[in-house]
């Protein structure tokens, strides 16, 4: 879980560099960590079950269709965005 943000960042960097094959390969390589993160979101009811299914489905679609744009959409605006909302808030809480 701790290094998932780093993994997501690397995927984004590879995608921005238009290294689609490397981005997908890296995603597959680190799938367990990402899966764990998505499960964590579901288990802690951060996202609903429908959203969880949708998210997994979209990620799978990105991989199956080799759709780099969909991959970046999911990673940037779903996974990283939620991560930052969760853990940045925690950081603020801790400081308080």
């Amino acid at each position: 879980m701790e290094n998932v943000r780093e993994i997501l960042d690397i995927i984004m960097e590879l995608a921005k560099a238009k290294r689609g094959n490397d981005a997908f390969a890296f995603l597959v390589e680190n799938f367990d960590a990402i899966k764990e993160y998505i499960m964590f979101l579901g288990e802690n009811q951060i996202i609903g079950i429908d959203e969880l299914n949708e998210l997994s489905n979209n990620l799978m679609n990105a991989v199956e269709n080799k759709d780099l744009f969909l991959l970046t959409d999911v990673v940037q605006y779903a996974l990283i965005s939620v991560y930052d909302q969760l853990f940045k808030e925690d950081e603020v809480d801790e400081k308080e």
Binding site: F69, Y77, A78
Partner: protein, 650 residues
């Protein structure tokens, strides 16, 4: 979801702004694009679109999670967007990006929006209100299959050389998979547009260095010249004019021209003059526009008898070689306005001392064509105007070579096919095609119905009637006209007074340039002070403003004084460096001021140097090539009065 209300609203605006494209909209129904579009529900609840490829692959065209954020982030990634920044965007679906881009620049931007997919364009027309794209937004739209002309031409007409370095490019997601060929072609088009701009700039550079020199040299012949304004309407709408170019097909029908026998005006372009004279055909005029045309092209003993239509920047070697009558039209050099002004000021008869422009599309044949209409030709008949590489040749035999070389057209990407005169396809090249497009535009803009193409082969010029030369001569050359008599009766453009004005201007030229040099030195000093004040820890605003005022004064002078502009026109190499850096953004205001000062020091320093060098060179020319008004130039009573008052008479 497709919405007819939105579609109708868009269509109404589309027809108004892009009538040509709108008239072809039905082509969308015959679309053969091999993907389908379907919608999915985004995280926000709205519909987003994706493409389904024949192999079953599904590619998103909009984001499910971050549709709007993606656009905002793209804009953010551009950093501070300066006014005049150009954007090349592929995919009408991303019109929101154009809106945000325009907002960031207060609508001071240049956007070319390219849509390679008719299917996606139709989807956008049915689902998004894009009426602002058809008027309000500073964007031009190019739709593959609907918009005619080359994309690269559209881009080079929108993007100027100085804004190219800050060009932003956005290609909508997955378009590289859906419309791979078109996207590749667009990127090639972008490269071509840049190459075209660079080549136009190089052409300018190639001619500018000689244009100034030619202009000063040619003032001597100008003093004895005529003005094309004297030929306005000379054909009274009663006689036809033949514009003879030296396309490869001229070899086939050149002898037919002998049958004209004084029943039309024959205007030869520069390269056609020798072949015509060699075939015993004497044109009534020949035109030259080129500042670097080789003198050998005109080297024919019969050339002096043919009046020349030309301008001040034409190659001085040819102007000196041709001893006959010269009719001047306005060159693009702004210093010519000053020449006209000083001549008119002193002239007894000002009637023909005017800056008479002849519209052109860059080729001498374009100029000859508009000249024919200027003379009031009843019909204008083009001959040898191939605008194509007929039989793999660029020009007729006997122009540059006795027998022209044959080119390999199919293997060289420089050559491409266009409609031929007889429903066939012919090979052409970029410059020829540009001239053809100009002819078509000139015909359309002036509602001309009397332009005839009697070229035996070559590219089709839409708007002209196609006819054989033999038939054109039989049909239109029905009345005798003695043009020579009319031309011989014309007085010279400049009378005694005007020549005196020209002479004063000519001899004062070197000193005027020295004045530019001195002003530029002052400008350089002001910029140095500006840089020093800007670099200081604590800025002295009062001094800075004072200095800025001085700089403004010098800049105003440099931008308006004809002599200063003359010097700068000759500095095109330097101009390139300045152009490329003019819109570079600096970190903060202080850096920006220092950068401006550096450019100002450099530019003014160079103007000072150029002006001084030019002044010295021109001093040598005016000493060798004298212009002196004499008693023989007296024309009319006012002129005689001026002469009697002058030193020459006493």
């Amino acid at each position: 979801m497709k919405d007819n209300y939105i579609f109708n609203k868009n269509m109404e605006a589309f027809i108004r702004a892009y009538p040509e494209e709108a008239s072809k909209y039905d082509l969308i129904t015959n679309n053969k694009e091999k993907f389908e579009l379907e919608t999915v529900i985004a995280y926000s609840g709205e519909e987003v679109v994706r493409a389904v490829l024949p192999d079953g692959r599904k590619l998103m065209l909009e984001g499910i999670y971050g549709k709007d954020d993606y656009i905002s982030d793209t804009i953010k990634s551009y950093g501070r967007i300066s006014p005049r920044t150009p954007l090349f965007l592929v995919g009408t679906m991303y019109i929101e990006l154009v809106r945000k881009f325009a907002k960031a620049t207060n609508d001071e931007c240049f956007v070319v929006l390219y849509e390679p997919s008719l299917k996606i364009f139709d989807y956008v027309m049915h689902t998004m209100d894009i009426t602002d794209l058809f008027g309000k937004l500073p964007a031009t739209l190019y739709i593959e299959g609907l918009t005619s002309g080359k994309l690269s031409q559209r881009m080079s007409s929108m993007f100027t050389l100085e804004i190219f370095p800050s060009l932003k490019i956005f290609i909508a997601p997955n378009y590289e998979h859906l419309c791979k060929e078109e996207v590749l072609r667009a990127s090639k088009g972008l490269r071509d547009a840049f190459t075209e701009l660079m080549s136009a700039w190089h052409t300018g550079a190639r001619y500018t260095d000689v244009a100034n020199k030619n202009l000063i040299y040619n003032l001597k012949t100008y003093a004895d010249g005529y003005n094309v304004a004297q030929l306005r309407g000379i054909l009274h709408g009663e006689y036809p004019a033949f514009v003879v170019s030296a396309g490869p097909s001229l070899n086939k029908n050149i002898d037919e021209l002998k049958k004209i026998k004084g029943r039309a005006a024959i205007i030869a372009v520069d390269t056609a003059i020798k072949p015509l004279l060699n075939h015993g055909i004497k044109p009534d005029f020949f035109c030259i526009v080129d500042g670097k045309k080789p003198t050998e092209l005109m080297n024919h003993p019969g050339i002096h008898e043919i009046p020349l239509v030309t301008h001040l920047s034409v190659a001085s070697g040819i102007m000196d070689l041709h001893k006959g009558k010269k009719f001047f039209y306005a060159s693009a050099e702004s210093i010519e306005d000053e020449v006209i002004r000083v001549c008119r000021k002193e002239a007894g008869n000002k009637k023909y001392i005017v800056s008479q422009n002849l519209p052109t599309g860059g080729s001498v044949a374009n100029t000859a064509f508009s000249f024919a209409y200027f003379m009031g030709a009843k019909e204008v008949i083009l001959v040898g105007q191939d605008l194509a590489l007929t039989n793999g040749r660029t020009h007729a035999d006997g122009t540059f070579k006795a027998k022209m070389d044959k080119l390999n057209l199919t293997e060289d990407p420089e050559y491409f096919e266009v409609d031929g005169l007889h429903g066939n396809k012919v090979y052409t090249r970029g410059d020829f095609d540009m001239y053809r497009i100009w002819f078509e535009k000139y015909i359309k803009d002036n509602n001309l119905t009397n332009a005839i193409d009697a070229t035996q082969g070559g590219a089709k010029i839409h708007g002209t009637k196609i006819m054989t030369l033999k038939r054109a001569i039989e049909t239109y050359c029905v009345k005798k006209v003695n043009l020579k008599e009319k031309i011989d009766a014309l007085p010279k453009m400049l009378d005694y007074g005007a020549r005196k004005g020209l002479s004063d201007f000519y001899y004062a030229f070197p000193e005027k340039l020295m004045e530019v040099s001195r002003k530029a030195k002052q400008g350089e000093r002001a910029y140095r002070k500006f840089a020093k004040l800007s670099e200081a820890e604590k800025v002295d605003n009062k001094e800075l403003l004072k200095c800025a005022d001085k700089i403004k004064e010098i800049n105003d002078y440099m931008n308006s004084d004809q002599y200063a502009l003359f010097v700068q026109a000759g500095m095109i190499d330097i101009d390139y460096v300045m152009r490329m850096s003019i819109y570079e953004e600096q970190e903060d205001e202080k850096d920006e001021r220092i950068q401006i000062a550096k450019q100002g020091i450099l530019l003014n320093g160079l103007i000072a140097l150029y002006a001084k060098t030019m002044s010295e060179n021109i001093a040598v020319i005016v000493k060798k090539r004298t212009i002196k008004p004499a008693k023989k130039d007296i024309n009319g009573k006012v002129d005689r009065f001026l002469y009697e008052l002058s030193k020459e008479a006493r």
